[in-house]
Amino acid sequence: MTDDMKIEDPAGDRALIEVRDVHRIFHDGAVEVHALRGVDLDVEAGEFSVLAGPSGSGKTTLLNVIGCLDRPTKGTVHIGGIEVSDFDRKKAAEFRLRNIGFVFQAYNLIPVLSAYENAEFVMLLEGIDREERKKTVEGLLSEVGLEGMFDRRPHELSGGQQQRVAVVRALAGHPMVVLADEPTANLDSKASEDLLDLMYGLNQEHDVTFLFSSHDPAVIERCSRVIRLDSGEVVADERKGEE
């Protein structure tokens, strides 16, 4: 790892993401909510996998813990061989910026920025110079079918187009993994389909590792690996096409 926390050479013989006995307990007033109960999980580089499970099963919580947006109450998370589960806020922010791409369910984009500006947001925070940003962002936006819409504000884009911009923003920083929490939840089935096609294409062509959460059968269908969560526990983990 370099000073700026960018993982250069992931893992070696270890998995890209290693989750070990992760627990997360929320204190909601006097009530303790045990959102994760001892999750163990390895995600390899290049995988296209999904955390599946009913609402409240702990998908978002697990993605947050992996994405350094939350710290486990107990257990460890390693990404690229680095233990991220004990990062403080500042380190976590820096690590997210350098290594993790995010696509959220909604309110993904900054309303006052254009599609292009949203797409380059992470690169800008990383301090990447203008020329390189332009090359990367223009290329990716065109690749996801948004040429001619660079100057549009989020409200001038459809839900599917907005999510594409979010995907480009996530990818532009060349992350180790893209975490997408129910990325299709607000989309109709056609738009969901298209977004998944797009992400699958990126996974295949650019070798980007994707980890989704979803309870949408259409999404689950498309993923090569399905990790089923229930009440904060991994209850099934199946890889397709490995028959």
Binding site: L69, K90, A93, R98, Y107, P111, V112, F121, L125, R169
Partner: protein, 418 residues
């Protein structure tokens, strides 16, 4: 640059809210500039009313005279003293005076008078008494060869005594030896200066005639000095004092107008305090409005902030983003207000503000009558103080919402838990 772009667009997002906040800042800025211009104009008028007409910027007297004015406590007025004073840097002009206390009369009427012997040539270099002539003329350069000596009296005194130009006047005053001296004078002019001490009581006559009445020679009661920079009178007074001391005249006291007219000086100090209070109140009111606008706008964007921080934006950047918004709001509002304030105040400094509807014609305050028009004073200080002050208020108001934003936990902010 991104921060600036975002801040501008965020402010434009809710034009009404930002516009109202900026408008509030603008109005407050303009109001404070106008208010300072008015107060400075008023003070300027007061100070000039006192110093320009009678007091001058510095007064030199014998130390005994300072303690308790008495006719016999004069000092020798010679070339050495005059030149020492004139040679001090910052001094523009000096004029000597003999001051006698007595009665001024015409036929069966008489009135207490301030009988002042002056040098008709140098007095106008120090005060503006001569410009107050409303009837007749100023004293001639030298005493008339024959006939009665000349006198110029205040307009109030002329009314009391029911006299006018050409009438004779008798003055009776205490001489230095304790006896009573008198003189017969002819009124050559009437003055109206706006300074009630002059207008109601003064009889201005040639030094030589005053010397004659008081039986003194080559001596005066005071020398009055005009200087370049009136507010700095204390410094110049010290410089003159030092030179006089060095020349062996350490029995003379040089006092700046602030000391001669302590009430006036006190008023200036009180005004500063009053200004401070006005500023504090206005700043507070503006702050409430701006704080409300910035906080509301920040709170509405918590989800957005959550996303920005989730993808890796630092807390410092988050903080600066909101502070920049406050700064921009302040700069735009204060700049508009400064323009507006400068325009109105500038107008009133050139044309004056008509106060005749508010004060009656003879109103005086501390011996200075109100002019019908008050001319505002506009300066770098009166422009910048409110402008920069309100930009600062706006920035300070941004600190709270900015700090709150940095405390957001991205995952909670995004899910709307904050």
């Amino acid at each position: 640059m991104l921060s600036l772009r975002m801040a501008i667009r965020n402010l434009l997002r809710n034009r009404w809210r930002s516009g109202l906040a900026a408008g509030g800042i603008a109005v407050a800025t303009a109001m404070l500039i106008w208010n300072l211009g008015f107060i400075d104009g008023f003070l300027d008028m007061m100070v000039r009313g006192a110093t320009d007409v009678e007091t001058g910027h510095l007064q030199i007297q014998d130390e005994r005279y300072v303690e308790q004015p008495a006719t016999m406590d004069y000092f020798e007025w010679n070339d050495e003293v005059r030149q020492t004073v004139e040679a001090t840097p910052g001094v523009l002009a000096v004029t000597p005076r003999i001051r006698l206390f007595g009665l001024v009369g015409h036929e069966e009427r008489s009135h207490i008078g301030r009988i002042i012997g002056i040098d008709p040539v140098t007095e106008p270099q120090v005060t503006v008494m001569d410009r107050g002539i409303v009837d007749g003329r100023w004293l001639d350069e030298s005493m008339p060869e024959t006939g009665p000596a000349e006198v110029v009296i205040g307009i109030g005194l002329s009314r009391t005594l029911r006299v006018g130009v050409g009438d004779e006047l008798v003055v009776i005053a205490e001489a230095v030896d304790g006896s009573m001296g008198d003189g017969l004078l002819e009124i050559v002019g009437i003055v109206q200066t706006g300074n009630s001490r002059i207008d109601r009581q003064a009889a201005l006559l040639h030094m030589e005639e005053a010397e004659f009445i008081a039986a003194m020679e080559g001596a005066v009661h005071e020398a009055v000095v005009a200087i370049e920079d009136p507010p700095d009178a204390p410094d110049t007074a010290r410089a003159v004092q030092q030179r006089l001391n060095a020349a062996g005249y350490d029995h003379l006291r040089v006092r700046p107008w602030q000391e001669v007219e302590p009430a006036l000086h006190q008023m200036l100090l009180y005004t500063n305090t009053a200004n401070f209070v006005i500023f504090a109140i206005i700043f507070f009111i503006v702050a409430l409005g701006v704080l409300n606008a910035l906080r509301m706008s920040a709170r509405e964007r918590y989800r957005e902030f959550g996303v920005m921080m989730a993808v890796g934006m630092s807390r410092a950047k988050m903080f600066s983003l909101i502070v920049i918004e406050g700064f921009l709001l302040g700069v735009v509002g204060a700049a508009l207000g400064a323009g507006l304030g400068a325009a109105i105040t500038g107008y009133h400094s050139v044309r004056g503000l008509d106060l005749s509807g508010f004060v009656d014609g003879d109103a005086t305050y501390m011996g200075v009558s109100f002019a019908d028009r008050i001319h505002f004073v506009i300066s770098a200080e009166t422009l910048l103080l409110p402008t920069l002050g309100l930009v600062m208020v706006s920035v300070v108001c941004a600190l709270w919402p900015a700090l709150s934003a940095t405390r957001l936990v991205p995952r909670d902010a995004m899910s709307g838990r904050d």
